[in-house]
């Protein structure tokens, strides 16, 4: 469902040209759980931003569900992000002074879905991350782990086919991180394609496949042999 061919991204800053991606190619099929790994500066965040339609490549081809990104206008990209993609960020990015219910419902405010249907979806999404008892709380009344679960509920409320998670456990204690990974694995089991950016070896082994980047190039693309399952608990 995701097809990337010889993707390049350069940033021009006055005189200096920085190459973030230098010819990346791979395919991701539906239902996969891919961890993108690499040291900082390897281009993994840039790659995820392009895959999530938040940025455009300098050259190369990116097809999402058969549609070439180059053919799509900014508004169409926004529409696809809204309909088919979900995002989870390292720093949660919840709206302050906005209830859990309204935070989760944010993507639906940009759709034409009826109010009733929205409420159903929001409640279901919050329920699926186990936060029904927190529905009226404000983000600052929640723990980090709970905030990230709200963010996941927000990512799945529009029933996306792909969920992009950018270092989702990077800002959490290991127990909360474990819970987040368990939710992501469950979502993957339900058929969602998941693309996870991480720099932790341990976390990446919970995916089905690991793509390693270095200096803007893929240096390794392997299937995980002994996949870890978050529900088995923390391995000491």
């Amino acid at each position: 469902m995701l097809e990337i061919k010889n993707l390049k991204k350069e940033y021009k800053d006055d005189l200096v040209v920085t190459t973030a991606l230098n010819g990346v190619s791979f395919l991701i099929s539906e239902g996969d759980f891919v961890a993108i790994m690499g040291p900082s500066g390897s281009g993994k965040s840039t790659l995820m931003h392009i895959m999530g339609f938040l940025d455009r490549p300098s050259s190369g081809i990116y097809k999402f569900e058969g549609q070439k990104m180059d053919d799509l206008t900014d508004d169409e990209l926004a529409y696809i992000r809204n309909e088919k993609m979900g995002f989870v960020f390292q720093f949660f990015n919840l709206l302050p002074r906005t209830s859990v219910f309204n935070n989760v419902g944010l993507p639906l405010t940009y759709t034409k879905i009826s109010k009733h249907e929205r409420e159903q979806r929001i409640k279901k999404a919050i329920d699926s991350v186990g936060l029904s008892h927190r529905i009226k709380h404000m983000p600052n009344q929640l723990s980090g782990g709970e905030q990230q679960r709200v963010a996941i509920a927000r990512a799945i409320v529009n029933h996306p086919s792909v969920i992009f998670a950018d270092e989702p456990t990077g800002n959490l204690d290991s127990k909360s991180g474990q819970q987040i990974m368990e939710i992501l694995q469950n979502l993957n089991d339900d058929g969602h394609t998941i693309i996870l950016v991480t720099h932790e070896q341990y976390t990446s082994e919970m995916a089905k496949r690991i793509i390693q980047l270095k200096d803007g190039k893929v240096i390794n693309d392997t299937v995980v042999d002994h996949r870890r399952f978050a529900k088995d608990g923390l391995v000491k």
Partner: protein
């Protein structure tokens, strides 16, 4: 996203910074309030003046010395000065006009200033030289004693009726009738005190002393001319015809050869009550527009305040903007969100400003009618509501568009990274 939700979101955002939003709104409140106040007072002044002119009756015609400027339009101050100095109108003109069959009444007027003395009391007064018709036309008479009579005018009698206030100032509780006052070294017998009348057309009739026109001309001013002539037509329909008749009569009397009827060649001006009220409407209209535009400067300053705070808001909420874009907001959605936010602020500011402006003008009209002793009316000008809210929304739009565009153009990644 629908409008209702957008407004809800913007109110939430504004509530998040209550003090800041309130102060920003205050700029709009003051701006709109000032404009409304000026408009309302201007309309009130217009109603007062025009109402007074109209109360004189639509059959009235005014004749003043001097000519219509050939360039068109007479300066208000210039014509007032001309009335004082130009000597072309006389009592003979009055008698000539009186002969016209369309004339119901006609009276001349002269005026001057001097000191009125009674025993130890000494007041500076304006005296008006009139004829008895003046009382009839204004339907205004002496409540104590009597009016000036025709015989007293003919006989150049040294009699005076006093305005209500000047009678009080000079005599206090004493009965002024048959007492003698001195104006410009001439003794006058007080024969009446006028009914209390108040301020009209910027003139306080209660402060004037009324004497026969002939007495005022010969004994007080030493002149042969009059300052103005007021004519009343037999009915409203003949006013235009009578105006033309008066012009012909006066041209003949003044030996002016003017068959084309070029008004700039005449040495007098004839104006109907309708024209006079139109002129005053025009003058007050210009004055109102002028004052309102000064008040509008406050509104522009308020608008700049809105723009300033919206720019701050965009910077503060960069992450929010990035997030909204990531979850599917188009540039247009972000633009609308911030525009609605600034417009919500100006809209509510407009409502509050409107209410404040109305309250202030109500207060001012009460004070004015007390101080000036006039029937100053409190008016909410037609369209003021529309103007207040419309202008407020336009200000919100005009000063909100730049910050909103800035927000809409933000790159989602940069916005998300923003700390």
């Amino acid at each position: 996203m629908n409008l209702k939700e957008s407004i809800k979101i913007s109110i939430t955002a504004l509530k998040a910074n209550k003090t800041r939003s309130a102060l920003t709104m205050l700029g709009i409140v003051i701006g709109i309030g000032a404009v409304i106040l000026m408009m309302s007072l201007g309309k009130g002044a217009e109603n007062l003046i025009v109402g007074q002119i109209q109360s004189l009756g639509s059959t009235s015609i005014y004749i003043e010395p001097g000519s219509f400027d050939s360039k068109g339009g007479t300066g208000f101050m210039e014509s007032a000065l001309e009335e004082m100095t130009i000597k072309t109108l006389t009592l003979k003109d009055v008698e000539a006009i009186r002969k016209d069959s369309l004339v119901d009444m006609v009276y001349p007027m002269v005026y001057g200033v001097g000191r009125a003395v009674y025993q130890s009391e000494d007041e500076k007064v304006t005296f008006l030289g009139i004829t008895p018709e003046a009382y009839v036309m204004d339907d205004w008479h002496a409540t104590i004693g009597r009016d000036i009579s025709d015989e007293e005018v003919k006989g150049m009698a040294r009699v005076a009726t006093l305005g209500y206030k000047i009678a009080q100032d000079l005599f206090g509780n004493e009965d002024p009738i048959s007492k003698t006052i001195r104006i410009k070294k001439t003794n006058f017998k007080v024969i009446g005190v006028m009914e209390e009348r108040g301020m009209e057309m910027f003139q306080n009739y209660d402060e004037y002393v009324y004497v026969p026109v002939t007495t005022a001309q010969k004994l007080l001013l030493g002149i042969d001319h009059v300052n103005a002539i007021t004519v009343q037509a037999v009915n409203e329909d003949v006013v235009p015809q009578l105006m033309e008749n008066i012009r012909l009569i006066l041209r003949e009397a003044h030996n002016i050869y003017n068959p084309e009827g070029d008004l700039s060649k005449d040495d007098f001006k004839v104006m109907s009550q309708v024209e006079a009220s139109d002129m005053m409407t025009q003058i007050t209209g210009i004055l109102t527009a002028f004052l309102s535009s000064i008040a509008a400067i406050a509104l522009i300053v308020g608008g700049i305040g809105i723009m300033n705070i919206m720019l701050v808001s965009v910077t503060e909420r960069t992450r929010e903007i990035g997030l909204r874009k990531a979850v599917g907001a188009r540039n247009k959605d972000i633009l609308n969100q911030f525009l609605i936010e600034s417009m919500t602020m100006t809209f509510f500011g407009g409502i509050i400003g409107f209410i404040d402006g109305i309250l202030f003008s109500l207060l001012t009209s009460i004070v004015l009618s007390q101080v000036l002793n006039t029937s100053w009316s409190f008016v909410v000008p037609f369209g003021a509501v529309v103007l207040a809210l419309g202008v407020a929304a336009i200000v919100g739009l005009a000063f909100g568009i730049y910050p909103a565009k800035k927000a809409a153009k933000l790159n989602p990644i940069e916005a998300l990274r923003h700390e």
